[in-house]
């Protein structure tokens, strides 16, 4: 006869066993916590790139899409960070490395494919590895009788008063790049803030937006005839519905908007994290993503289809036109710069 005690005891054993079982399984499949953008990039990642990675490396990937990422990483404990791999732009990576939230350098030792990337991707202006980049230049309307801009100074053309656009500098890195560029073309260099401020004053009236999506909308609706934007933001409208907008790379050079991956020092799955970065640098993965969102791949060995190859930065020569700002220098002064530009541009 089965007593109640027996049932209870065997029940307890069964429950304990079933509770332990998932943890046994869990110990075998590691979890990699990453961040990723949304939109088309996120779609491709979730549909193709991440599942393939999970299968090959027998792990689970948790991809956080809720931007902003750095405040969350900041608040999480150092020895158990919220992310193993942080994907963000260069300026934010620099903010992170200063606080010890990400690694300093990633070399070919940890990530073999680093040996195949263009120099800019692991230059001293980068912490981590840049897997893609875009060029920040001038987007313009082709149907407003404007000549194709050849210089950054074309943005200051008096005819464009009230019809040019840029970004709210405190919150947008393209705006910050533009400010530094103003220092270069009107002054002594990227760090000549005085010249930059003067030039900014001359650009008024100018329409300022928060993020590139709004700039795209302004260009497409004709609200502005010329604006600071990255090439991918204009080229993505190629194809089915050709719009009268085009992208111009000014002769003084284009600024780099890099997509940078880095690993957190406290990560418990560093091997896997490095493997992920290596995976993202594989030519086939690079080609897939580059052609989905019009980013220029960092791996020299990537061969893009003709229409992408034509417009993106896929040769040593083209890549050499990229200017990488000193984010460490800028971030240290960001608070002062923010206050100053707010005063200049307000009303």
């Amino acid at each position: 006869m089965i007593s109640r005690r027996t049932i209870l005891r065997s029940g307890a054993v069964a429950v304990t066993a079933s509770l332990a079982a998932p943890s046994i399984l869990h110990a075998q499949t590691k979890t990699l916590k990453i961040t990723t953008w949304g939109g088309k990039w996120g779609d491709v990642m979730k549909a193709t790139v991440l599942p393939a990675f999970e299968k090959e490396f027998k792990c689970t990937v948790q991809a956080d899409q809720a931007f902003p990422f750095v405040p969350k990483l900041q608040a999480s404990p150092r020895n158990d960070p919220l992310y193993d791999v942080l994907h963000t732009n260069s300026n934010e990576q620099w903010n992170c490395v200063v606080e010890g939230l990400v690694l300093d350098k990633i070399t070919a030792k940890e990530v073999p494919n680093v040996a195949d990337v263009y120099p800019y991707a692991v230059s001293d202006k980068i912490v981590g590895v840049s897997i893609f980049t875009s060029a920040i230049g001038l987007g313009f309307r082709t149907d407003k009788g404007l000549a194709r801009p050849t210089s950054w100074k074309d943005l200051a053309d008096p005819k464009l008063a009230g019809a040019r656009g840029s970004y709210i500098i405190p919150v947008n890195s393209l705006g910050q790049c533009h400010l530094m560029m103003l220092g270069k073309i009107y002054g002594k260099g990227l760090q000549d803030l005085d010249a930059a401020y003067k030039a900014l004053e001359q650009l008024k009236p100018i329409k300022l937006v928060d993020f590139t999506g709004q700039m795209e909308k302004m260009l497409l609706s004709g609200e502005v005839s010329m604006g600071v934007i990255h090439d991918s933001g204009v080229y993505r409208y190629e194809g089915e519905n050709k719009q009268p907008v085009d992208f111009a790379s000014p002769s003084e050079g284009v600024l780099a908007l890099e997509q940078v991956l880095n690993v957190t020092p406290g990560s418990k799955v560093k091997e896997l994290a490095f493997a992920y970065i290596d995976y993202m640098l594989r030519p086939d993965v690079q080609k897939l993503l580059a052609e989905a969102v019009w980013y220029s791949p960092s791996n020299k060995k990537v061969k893009l289809s003709a229409k992408y190859d034509e417009k993106l930065l896929t040769t040593e020569a083209k890549v050499a036109t990229l200017i990488q700002p000193d984010w460490k220098w800028y971030n240290a002064r960001k608070e002062d710069i923010d206050a100053r530009v707010t005063k200049i541009l307000r009303g």
Binding site: K40, Q62, Q65, K72, P77, Y237
Partner: protein
Amino acid sequence: MSAAPNRRPFDAGRAAYLALNGLLLTFLLAPIAIVLIFALNPTPYISFPPVGVSLRWFDKFFSSPEFMNALFLSLWVAGCVLVLSIVIGGACALARARGNLPGRASLTAFFMSPLMLPAILTGLALFQAYLLAGIGRPVWGLILAHTLVAVPYVIRTTLAVLHNFDRRIEEAAAVLGASPIRVFFEVTLPLIRPGVFAGGVFAFIVSFDQFPVSLFLVVPKGETLPVVLFNYMKFDLDGAIAAASMVSILLALSVVLVLEKLIGLKAYVKL
């Protein structure tokens, strides 16, 4: 003006009144009309004037597992928040109105304070607190965070109803022999119900549309719809978010309509 009610065939005053309200309604509805136009416009970027009518964005929205999961999560969270905030907020309002507590003005201010703090700080503070407590970011944490910002609305509307409450009805019931508990459940609660539910409507909407608090408290694959839309929109500018918006509006309006039918917000008006 004559003392008798106007029987003139054309009532200029009333016409002006209706015209004014019509204009105000137009102001409220114009952006929504624009969103509908975007949602039906086939071109893959948001433009005006529209070039045609197409359901492709609705199709994209409904066939995207990410959007659908987010939609259901938002609905589920909002539903939980609705129930929780009604119970907690209603109770709090009753206590504040009837409990003879000291410092009533300060109490009201205290319970309204989540509304005055930028939600990004609330979200960040809760995120840090959750991490410190070691509980991670569970869904119930998200629900309770939403409840925090929704409860003030319920308290507000319930207090308003309790304010003008004719207590003689309760006294009459007591005189007729009902015990205090019975008076509470059979007289008081039904009479304040419309106020509580009006606050509940607010709570549902506030939770469903909540963005900054959710931003820090959602986890991968467990994001609410506003978060998903915001992040989608930073990188892709097409009509899918307009379609998502229209669906949200229609769904939430249905919920409100159902609530209205059940308890009749008009009863709240006529209390």
